[in-house]
Structure formats: structure tokens, C-alpha cells
Symmetry: C2
Subunit: 541 residues, 2 copies
């Protein structure tokens, strides 16, 4: 067979040539922007030419601090297709973490939304590798202390798009994304052209979310989160009409876009699904063309699944994945036999995390890494292997702890039933998922224990109506503390949304047999808000 590499430029080739007339639509303030895949392809090449003119060469990293827009989408292809590496930076990171990931990735050029300039100006002096800032949007470049600074549209206007994409090894780095760690700085995952192409094929399969020509997809999942779950790449390959929600979107913006553009498939974090439900409760909408709302990032409650199905006839599948797996590892395709068995059987399946995608090998492992049976009862950690799973964290000594015998340790714990459905029951890693973003409980505990009045601290996840999970801090103290005082102590080191809402003063932290904090006990004891009432630290002044 021909030795043809799997390259992202081939996904773009199909979008441009086979589906050149299909549209990419972006909600922008005041208006919707729209153009075709044919126009998109020319602009992606112009971007590559402009970046080359700024000195970007093969292997160089180009960072983005950007919303889900057509310009960000252009960088998804323009950067890797020229042989450079797209580093999508999470806008919600704490400012110091943004500086860390830019330096760690060694970004040479940053593509930045105008609204992100103030944050970037604060850390610019600490950025050691950035040679140029390019401001997105189509207005004039705002007044800024960043230098040298360029306007995105001006740069593109100076190029002709007459460029043949180079060919190179399919294992060449294409993109990178950082994920929160249990302790310390974020950890980087580097995607290859090969992994992106294989992941795109998986997303377009029957038995997956099924990116396809006849659908209109709204990727609400941020493009700075694990390739926006792969939707943008798969959409170009399949000629799928894309609707991008633009800057600072809120639930009503998503619903506007769904109504207006006839979105058939929306893809979002579970917490966003909750916000959309709330917005729909406040104001009914015409969702008649919406068929599927894929909720991921964590397990959607069955009540939410039912709500969308019963009110709007919208199917709510889920997927399980992670930045390290491109991200999709499993998807809740309901087998025909189960569907034929009726609604109850379907419901029992929909709350599970799904079947392994092609190419993804799953091992349910005991503590030594040895395989456990798929009997729906044996509880173990899920290990993953496959060409779309990372082999290492980028230049990071913490890699060793996350791999065993060539398998990636996901840190998620659960069972696999005889039908092959994974179900998560716990999380081995001390992370809390709030509003689709990770919070490290260990980092919060370390910071709390540096407070002079705190003897010991444990932070666990508690259920939250809006954010699905929120951190709850339990502290043992040697002298009186207040909520205000503890929050102030943490405030300088964490983004505000990462701070616990509640601080409980407890006489002791329960321990496991080996002397670790027994978080299972804490989670169970304080699951209900009423159980926490009496122990709350006073507000303070």
C-alpha cells in the first residue's frame, strides 16, 4: 500500500474540495459571521503564510488564547498543516499558570482575543519565548503594551493563500493542550497528525457522535479543551456545517444559535447542559431541529437526560475521555438489543460512560495493573492504550507516575459490564470537576495547611446543582478561623472559581488504613447540605 502519511491537511483537503460550499458560521457580538469551507481553506493558507513571515517554522509552537470562532478554527488547520504546533491555551487558567504553559510549551507567537490582552499584559514580562503577538477579531489593534503586536486580519490581507501544504511524517506534532495536575503546574499533551486524523475518523463513525455532512454541529466545548473534543477536525473532513458560539457565550447564546441556524448536534460539558436546561425553563425555544446534545466531561445525571428527551425529544448521549486521549475514549452507543428491551434498559445504559472506540484498548486494572474481569462488579482503575492516547506528558518528570507497562493510568475508577460498557464509580486522582474544569484538591489542601491556624485540611467534591461538583474544604484548626480569612489566604494562588465555597471546621480528618485522608468517608458524610450546616466556619468580616 502507498506510504501516505495521515495528515491534517487531508482533512482540510476534503472540506475544501469535496464540501467547499458548506458553511462555517460564528456568533460574533451583534452579528453572525459566515463563509464556506472553500474560503476557509484559503484563509488557513494565508494564516500559514503570515506566520511564516513572522518567523514560524516547522515544529515551532503557536499559542492561542481564543474563543470558539472562525479565526480560532483557521489556526486549527493553518498552524499544523504548515508543520508548526498549535498550543490552545485554557482561558480559565490562573494567570500564573497561563505564563507557565506558554513558557513550558515555548510558544513563539500568540494569537490573542482582544479581551485577553489585559491578562496577557500582566505576565508579558515573564514570557521568555514569545516573539510576536497577533490580535484576533476584525477591529483595529487595541492600545496595548505588548510588542511586537499585529492585527490578525491585516496579516492575512497581506497574503495570497497560494501555498501547497508540505508533507511530513504523520507522527509530527500537530497540537498541544495542557491539563490540570493533581499537584503542581498543568501537564502538556502533544497530539500528532496521525492521532488527530484517527480521532477524526472515530468521531465520524456510526456508534460515536457521528459527525456527518447532513448535520449542523455546535461545538460548545471550548476549542482550548482537548481539540474541542475533536469536532472541528472531524467537521472539515465530513463537510459538516459548523456553528461556533463566539466570545463569552452564555446559555441563551447557545440556544439562539441552535434556533437560528437549525443546529442538529450540540456538544458541551454537562455543566453547560444544566445551564441550558435552566435557560429553557425560563424561556421556551424551538429546538425541533436539535437531535442530539452530547454532554461530556463528567456523567450527566439521568434526570437531565430525561428532561431533554421528554421536553424536546433531544437524545443526550455521553462520552468519556480526557485531554490525554484526544479526548474520546468511550461513547454511550446503545446496543440494538438494549434499545429493543425498552426505556428502562436504555436508561441503565445511558448513565454509563459507554463502549470503547475503535483503536482504544481498555484494561480494568487492579492496583498492580493486572486485568480484572468485565463482570460489572469488579472495581478497578481504567487503563488506556491506543494511537490516540498520549505516551507521555510534554517534557515533564511526572510522566512516570501516570503510565504502567505502556498503559495510561486514567485515574478513573469503576466497572465494565459484560456488554463492554464502562461505568465510573470514583476517581483515583484528587481532582474535582467544576463547571467542566478541573480543580486540584491536593493543591487547595497544601495551600490551606500553610495557613497558621490550620492543622490539617482535606478538600473533597460535593454535588452542586449548577456546577455539578464544587470543592468543599474540611479543616482541623488550632485557633478560630473565618470563611473570609481562609478564602483570602487562598485567593492569591487560585482563580476565584477554584476556591471552595464552604469551609467546615471538623475535629479530625478520617483516615484510611495507610493513614491517608479517607475522602470517601468525607464525601459520604457531607453529601447533603444539611449535614454541613452546623460545621461551617463563621463568615468573618
Amino acid at each position: 500500500m502507498m506510504d501516505r502519511p495521515l495528515l491534517i491537511s487531508q482533512l482540510l483537503w476534503r472540506g475544501e474540495h469535496v464540501f467547499g460550499e458548506k458553511e462555517i458560521v460564528t456568533r460574533l457580538p451583534g452579528a453572525y459571521h459566515r463563509y464556506t469551507y472553500a474560503e476557509f481553506g484559503v484563509r488557513a493558507r494565508r494564516l500559514a503564510q503570515a506566520l511564516a513571515r513572522l518567523g514560524v517554522g516547522p515544529g515551532d509552537r503557536v499559542g492561542t488564547l481564543a474563543w470558539n470562532t472562525h479565526q480560532h478554527y483557521e489556526s486549527y488547520f493553518g498552524v499544523p498543516c504548515m508543520g508548526a504546533v498549535l498550543h490552545t491555551i485554557n482561558l480559565r487558567l490562573f494567570t500564573e499558570q497561563i505564563a507557565y504553559v506558554i513558557n513550558h510549551a515555548g510558544d513563539s507567537v500568540l494569537l490573542v482575543e482582544p479581551d485577553q490582552l489585559p491578562a496577557l499584559e500582566k505576565i508579558a514580562k515573564d514570557l521568555h519565548t514569545v516573539r510576536a503577538y497577533v490580535v484576533l477579531g476584525d477591529g483595529p489593534v487595541p492600545e496595548t503594551s505588548l510588542a511586537p503586536v499585529f492585527g490578525y486580519e491585516e496579516l492575512l490581507a497581506a497574503e495570497d493563500g497560494d501555498l501547497a501544504w508540505p508533507e511530513f511524517d504523520e507522527n509530527t506534532a500537530a497540537a498541544m493542550c495542557y491539563t490540570s495536575a493533581t499537584t503542581g503546574d498543568p501537564k502538556g499533551v502533544v497530539y500528532s497528525h496521525r492521532s488527530v486524523v484517527l480521532h477524526s475518523l472515530n468521531l465520524a463513525l456510526h456508534g460515536s457522535i457521528g459527525v456527518r455532512e447532513e448535520a449542523t454541529f455546535l461545538p460548545i466545548s471550548p476549542m482550548f479543551h482537548a481539540n474541542s473534543w475533536g469536532i472541528p477536525h472531524a467537521a472539515a473532513m465530513q463537510g459538516t456545517t459548523l456553528v461556533l458560539p463566539g466570545p463569552h457565550p452564555v446559555a441563551d447564546d447557545y440556544l439562539d444559535a441552535i434556533e437560528r441556524e437549525g443546529v442538529t448536534h450540540a456538544v458541551a460539558a454537562v455543566s453547560v447542559g444544566v445551564l441550558m436546561r435552566d435557560a429553557l425553563e425560563r424561556r421556551n425555544r424551538d429546538l425541533s431541529r436539535l437531535e442530539v446534545l452530547w454532554l461530556g466531561g463528567q456523567a450527566p445525571p439521568l434526570g437531565l437526560i430525561h428532561w431533554f428527551r421528554d421536553r424536546y425529544g433531544v437524545e443526550v448521549p455521553q462520552g468519556w475521555g480526557m485531554t490525554e486521549a484526544s479526548p474520546l475514549a468511550t461513547f454511550t452507543a446503545v446496543k440494538k438489543r438494549i434499545r429493543d428491551a425498552g426505556q428502562e434498559a436504555v436508561d441503565r445504559t445511558l448513565v454509563k460512560q459507554g463502549l470503547p472506540m475503535p483503536g482504544i484498548e481498555v484494561r480494568l486494572a487492579d492496583e498492580s495493573g493486572a486485568p480484572l474481569p468485565w463482570d460489572g462488579e469488579s472495581v478497578g482503575e481504567f487503563l488506556l492504550r491506543g494511537p490516540t492516547v498520549t505516551a507521555a506528558y510534554h517534557d515533564d518528570p511526572r510522566t512516570a507516575a501516570s503510565f504502567v507497562d505502556g498503559w495510561f493510568r486514567t485515574g478513573d475508577v469503576g466497572v465494565i459490564d459484560p456488554d463492554g460498557y464502562l461505568q465510573l464509580t470514583d476517581r483515583a486522582k484528587d481532582l474535582i470537576k467544576s463547571g467542566g474544569e478541573w480543580i486540584s484538591s491536593v493543591e487547595l489542601e497544601n495551600a490551606l495547611m500553610s495557613h497558621p491556624a490550620v492543622v490539617e485540611a482535606a478538600v473533597v467534591a460535593v454535588t452542586d446543582e449548577r456546577w455539578l461538583e464544587r470543592p468543599l474544604a474540611c479543616v482541623v484548626v488550632r485557633e478560630p478561623v473565618t470563611t473570609t480569612g481562609l478564602r483570602a489566604h487562598l485567593a492569591g494562588r487560585f482563580a476565584s472559581w477554584q476556591l471552595p465555597d464552604e469551609f467546615l471546621i471538623v475535629p479530625e480528618i478520617p483516615k484510611t488504613g495507610v493513614g491517608k485522608s479517607d475522602k470517601k468517608v468525607l464525601r459520604a458524610r457531607f453529601a447533603e447540605p444539611a449535614s454541613r450546616q452546623a460545621l461551617r466556619a463563621p463568615d468573618g468580616s
Copy 2:
């Protein structure tokens, strides 16, 4: 990303572990055989153990002369997963060609249906590499002069299936298939594990035939024809219920299987679609569960497409491909815009050969190989490139003529419209497709011209109700000839179905500007049976 190879054993892993309860059903004389993918996986490993015991090692070729059965399906996985190469031999080849392909491939073991033994016995003395014959079926091994000979089921019964598939480079040869050549012996195409896995993903995509868990597929396309178009491999990956039509199937057998097993998707050559229509005209059937009849190998007439749609609500898409492309290169997915425009627009699309699959690059080329525009008017040859397209014919000096600048020359000629749909208008190669099988016009011409009475000969395709195309021979003679005499002259060198039904005696063969036979003129002149009547060679005695 992990350096994990794309291996056929992973397709099997998914079938066995994620869809272990799904069924594989085979029509056998007198009864249907059925078992699950879990059982299938064990038997594929037993087959590998048995072949290893017969001395088959990595890289060795194992030939099959077999129908579409569960045993043939076991070889589709057992042979390549152990690192050996599956050579599926076309039962319809002329006996001498069968000997040629076995010797050329260097098959070490042959898996043979009982009904193929007589043909094989005739050529056994000419087979230089075969070390063992294994007789398929579950009866006792018939009396045969072949040696050493083993019974398939006896061999499997002696093994325990306790085998871990080896891992190796994804470019390792997995399978091979020979295709008819314009002149001379068949040409071999070698598939790799990588190409088979990528092709399987393509078959399971939205916008393709869509192999999926909830469907029941009947691959009528023989398993000795280009991987049965990839259905068997994709089915294991997707956990698709498979119904295999077994030995010597006729149209009513397919229809029995469709009715009885609730087949949702059938896959066949256009000529078989015609036979199924005729059978349905004779006897109505319940086809209510049949959704799609994929007809390929050549273009299905619009009348046939309409017939299945109007009578049974069955959709009839087509694909274009060839042994050299695994085989699928394009598929007639109808774009949403076209579907929305109504039946007439859909019909105009359904007669085209479709859109390029992901990973398949198509070039419409002029005679120098330079690209022509996709305007629906410029006529050129279709060139293909991609990881599922062969780079060469196996050990064959004719390779050079079929490739230009790294592109495969398909020999098919036509246009590409601005929507990306290919449409074939002619065939550059002198081949005729009759009942789904190729016939070389050049070979027939050479043989005819060796007849003492024949001065010149040209063979062209004419339309046939049943076989879609049949060869028509036009001869210029120096003395009287008869149809019987000419057929007898050819009979020893061709299979009977390859012989022309009609021989026309013409005063001269029209020529092109460069002095070649102008077959376009002949095809046009003799398209209608009435135009041939007066020129027919007398029957003879």
C-alpha cells in the same frame, strides 16, 4: 501519542470483547450455522495455532478457495493476526490462472472448499509451494489425490485457542488479492494491516455504507473479491450481525437470508442486483427490514435503483473502487442540499459514482497526468492516492505502467462535478465487466488473431440485461468462419463465461488518429442488438 500499530487483531478485539454476544450467521446446505463473535474469536486463534502447527510462520501466504462462510471469515482474522498473509483466490478464474496466482503468491497452505477439490486436483502437479491442503466444511475429508490433506474442523479441534496475537509493524502484509490485467496473468495487490484498519474505519463512517452495530449485513460480494469490499473487517470492529450466503448461492438464497435474518444492508455486484430483481419479479418477498442495497463493481442503471426504491423502499447507493484501492474509493452519499432539492436532483446524483472517501485523494488527470478542473465537463482519467491504495503490483514488471508521479492510474475515465462527485464515462483500459468479473478484451483479441482465418479482431463491451456487460467480438476475416469455430478456438484459453456470445464479421476495424482500434466507434455502432443482426458469423456445426 503512543506508538501503537493499526492491526487487524484490534478489529477482532473489539468484536470479541465489546460485541462478543453478536452473531455471525452462515447459510449452509440444509441449515443455517450461527455462533457469536466471542466464539468466532476463539476459533480464529485455533486456526492460527493449527496453521502454525502446519509450519505457517510470519509472512507466509495462506490461500483460500472458498465461499462466503464463517470458516472463510475465520481465516480473514486467524491468518493475518498471526502475521501470515491471507490470499483469497477468485474461484471463477480459469484453472490455469488459479495455478498461476497460487505459484506467484507462493501459497504455503490452501484452505479449500470440498467442491473446489476437482479443479485443484487438476493443477496440483503444477503447484510448487503448497505444503498442505486443508478441506473446509464440517464433513469427513473427501477422497482426493491432494496430499498432504487435512480436515479444517479436525485441525481446529486439536487446538485450545489460548494464544495472544503478536504485535508487529502496521505495514506488515495482511492479505492479497489478484485482479485481471489488460494482458497476461492476473496482477496481485497486497494489503497491509494499516490499510485494512483504515479501510474498515472508512466503511463505518457516516457518508459511507455505514457498517454499524444495530445493522445486519449480508455481504454478497465474494470474500475472494477485494476483501468482500471490506465488510467482513468492518463488521468485526463494529459488532455488526453478519449473514454470510454460503456456497453456490443464487438470488433466491440471498432473498431467503434477507427475509429470514432481517438483513438491513446487503452488498453486491450490480449484476447480482439485477438477478435479485428478476427473482423478486417471479416471487414477492418481505423486504421490510432491508434498508440499503449497496450495488458496486460498475454503475447500477437508474431504472434498477428506482425499482428497488419504488417496490420495496430500499435505497440503492453505489460505490466506486477496485482491488487496488481496498476497494472503496468513492461512495454516493447524497448531500443534504441535493436531498432537499427533491427526487430529480437525488436521481442525478445516484447515477454518479460518489464522493472521495477520507484519505482518498483523487486527481482528474489529462494524458500527461496534470490535473483537470472539477467542472463536470473536463474529461480525464481518475488517479488515486492514499494509504488504502496499492503502491505496486506484487512482484510484477507491469507495475510501472499503472502509476504516474506516485498516483495510481485507475484506467477509468470521466468527470468530477463541482460538488466533488465522480462520474465515469468510459474506461481507458480494455476490460469488460461481466457479472461483476473482469474480462480482458486484449487477451481475447490476441487469441482471436491467432486463428488462421482472422486478419484483425477487436473486442468491445455491449450492454447485457443480465450481466450488465458482455464481450462482443468484431473480426475481419480472410476466409469464412463460424461462431462455433471461433468459440472452440478460444475455449481452451478462457473460462467459458469469458467467451464472447457474439462474433461479428466486419469489413474493417475503425481506427483512431494514432492507428489504434477505435473502440468508441464500435461500441456506438453495435450498441443495439438489431445493429448486430446482419453481421453475425453463422453458427456453424
